[in-house]
């Protein structure tokens, strides 16, 4: 196999692993998946970053 073909194969396999496996099954967007609107996302993040005070 020529070096060019080897590299194309590596690129295709790599992109497949990244987008079809890693992104799909392991890297969902946390805020997009769990909340419907930006308003909900903003409220959630504020709750998260102020929780040390609120939990006391």
């Amino acid at each position: 196999m020529t070096v060019g073909r080897k590299l194309w194969l590596i690129i295709i396999v790599k992109l497949f692993i990244m987008f079809a496996i890693l992104k799909l099954f392991f890297f969902p967007d946390f805020l997009k998946t769990n909340f419907k609107s930006d308003s909900e996302r903003g409220d959630y993040v504020i709750e998260q970053i102020t929780s040390p005070i609120n939990n006391k």
Binding site: V3, I10, M18, F26, F30, G42
Partner: protein, 512 residues
């Protein structure tokens, strides 16, 4: 701090560090060799000498292998922002998003378009158009790096933004202030010149191997001239930009600066520890643990490096934690108090806003704004948790600086002997040049360790510590992806090394 899942924070950091470390194996070679190739091709076009065309093609093949294997490894970092670092991604808002989007467009349009012409356009387009494409690939890949480095610089020196307490996002108010912040300019120049230096080491190191084997001597002496000249110019600029970067760190991240020097107690006319060894690994949580087993100091140099005044006061870790009224340094204890006030005020503001209590909301907002600049300190009770790992930062910094000066020397000697046509007899120098390839990589990684470990615990300086930046996810899922990445990236690295070694060892200049 007890409210945060530290195992999740540690695993998320490990994952990001692993991804960035592997990604950075490929990036600097792309940034630098693209210019080296463009220079070689320019010589070919100017002279018409066919050997320069073959030289260009040889290095272009190695560039292609590196590019193909490295391409898109950085995208995983963006996946991680959305999954593992969602609080951070939301908090930084469009300030991080805009540069990354521009980077994507630059990378896609410039690199992808012209790289195809560069590789497949020989004999299909004119010499001039091909050469232009090679230069545009180099410029495009470096411009791509600009945007991600601007985003990183903003995290180290957050300016040009306004925090919106209703959306919990930082909003960009001055794009140019972010783009041209002294931290961003210095970071970009220092990172690209260090990448050029590493690429030049890559070129002279591989050329040295051929000279040691007495193969294609003229071919690789020519490569060496270009590599060493490019490397010498780049490494001198690298030192200049590194020097200015140190002053920037002193101004905006004094704790990181103190950690880089293992400097615990501030003083005027501060000496610089050029070479130092800690007695035992001190506890980074205990600033009183400063003990040197051995050190070589340069008098007044630290003051000069920080301020250009050899007698200026340089605060140490102790001064930053406990404050120094005489020097106008506010203690971390006070900043923690203000930070807690800001966090409480933000929480109160949200509650009042929901209850439509306008006066209370306005009062809370005013308190929040007054104390926002110390917001991130409020997550801590013990200010010693705000000290980065001092030995790691110190040794990484000194390794990077020491190797930087060594590389300048290697380029000077290589250039002298290759121009005098005596390089083939200097086997010791050829071996040093060959071994400088892994040393170059070590220096690159050490530099990033200074930048990233040295700024801990901050992900956004003074505003967001790493522990609040992570998503509320199960840390075992992060452990699994760390394992997956380790396997994937290691396979890619082995493939790169094997294919590249085969290409290098199997090469024979067909022109003879």
């Amino acid at each position: 701090m007890e409210h945060f899942n530290l195992a999740l924070v540690d695993w998320s950091r490990a994952q990001f560090a692993l991804t960035a470390l592997y990604h950075w194996i490929f990036v600097p070679i792309t940034l630098g060799t693209s210019f080296i190739i463009a220079i070689m091709e320019t010589i070919y076009v100017k002279t018409g000498d066919e050997m320069w065309k073959r030289i260009t093609k040889f290095w272009m093949t190695l560039f292609g292998i590196n590019f193909a294997i490295g391409v898109a490894t950085g995208i995983i970092l963006e996946f991680e922002f959305g999954t593992n670092w969602s609080n951070y991604s939301w908090f930084v808002g469009d300030i991080f998003g805009a540069p990354l989007a521009i980077e994507g467009i630059m990378a896609f349009f410039m690199e992808s378009t012209f790289i195809a012409i560069m590789f497949f356009g020989w004999n299909k387009v004119s010499k001039g158009f091909h050469l232009t494409s090679s230069w545009l690939v180099a410029i495009g890949s470096n411009l791509s790096a600009l945007w991600i480095l601007v985003a990183n610089a903003w995290m180290q020196n957050p300016i040009g933004m306004h925090f919106n307490p209703d959306t919990a996002r930082n909003e960009m108010v001055d794009f140019w202030q972010i783009l041209f912040s002294p931290t961003a300019v210095n970071k970009f120049l220092h990172v690209i010149t260090s990448a050029y230096t590493y690429s030049a080491l890559f070129v002279i190191g591989i050329s040295a191997w051929y000279l040691l084997k007495k193969r294609d001597v003229t071919f690789f002496k020519r490569s060496m001239v270009v590599g060493a000249t490019f490397g010498l110019i780049a490494s001198l600029f690298m030192i200049l930009t590194g020097d200015e970067s140190a002053r920037q760190v002193f101004r905006v991240q004094p704790m990181k600066f103190a950690a880089m020097e293992g400097f615990y107690y501030g003083e005027t006319s501060a000496p610089l520890v050029a070479i130092g060894l800690f007695e035992s690994v001190p506890n980074p949580q205990n600033p009183k643990a400063k003990e040197w087993a051995a050190k070589i100091e340069i008098p007044n140099m630290l003051s000069y490096m920080a301020t250009l005044d050899p007698h200026a006061f340089v605060p140490g870790i102790h001064d930053l934690v406990h404050g120094n009224k005489e020097q106008g340094i506010v203690s971390y204890y006070d900043r923690i108090t203000r930070g807690k006030t800001a966090i409480q005020a933000l929480a109160d503001y949200k509650v009042a806003k929901k209850a439509n209590e306008t006066n209370k909301a306005n009062a809370s907002l005013a308190v929040f704004k007054d104390n926002y600049k110390d917001f991130g300190y409020g997550y801590y009770d013990d200010p010693h948790n705000l000290i980065p790992n001092v030995p790691l930062t110190f040794y990484s910094f000194h390794t990077m600086v020491g190797l930087g000066f060594l590389f300048v020397l290697i380029f000077i000697l290589t250039l002298i002997y290759v121009v005098k046509n005596k390089i083939s007899n200097k086997k010791w120098l050829l071996y040093i040049a060959l071994w400088s390839i892994p040393l170059g990589f070590l220096a690159q990684e050490a530099g990033w360790m200074v930048a990233e470990f040295g700024r801990q615990p901050w992900v956004v300086q003074d505003y967001m510590p790493t522990l609040t930046a992570v998503s509320n996810i199960d840390h075992t899922s992060v452990m699994i992806t760390v394992l997956l990445f380790t396997i994937t990236f290691t396979v890619l690295l082995i493939a790169e090394i094997k294919i590249m070694l085969k290409q290098i060892t199997g090469f024979k200049d067909g022109g003879h």
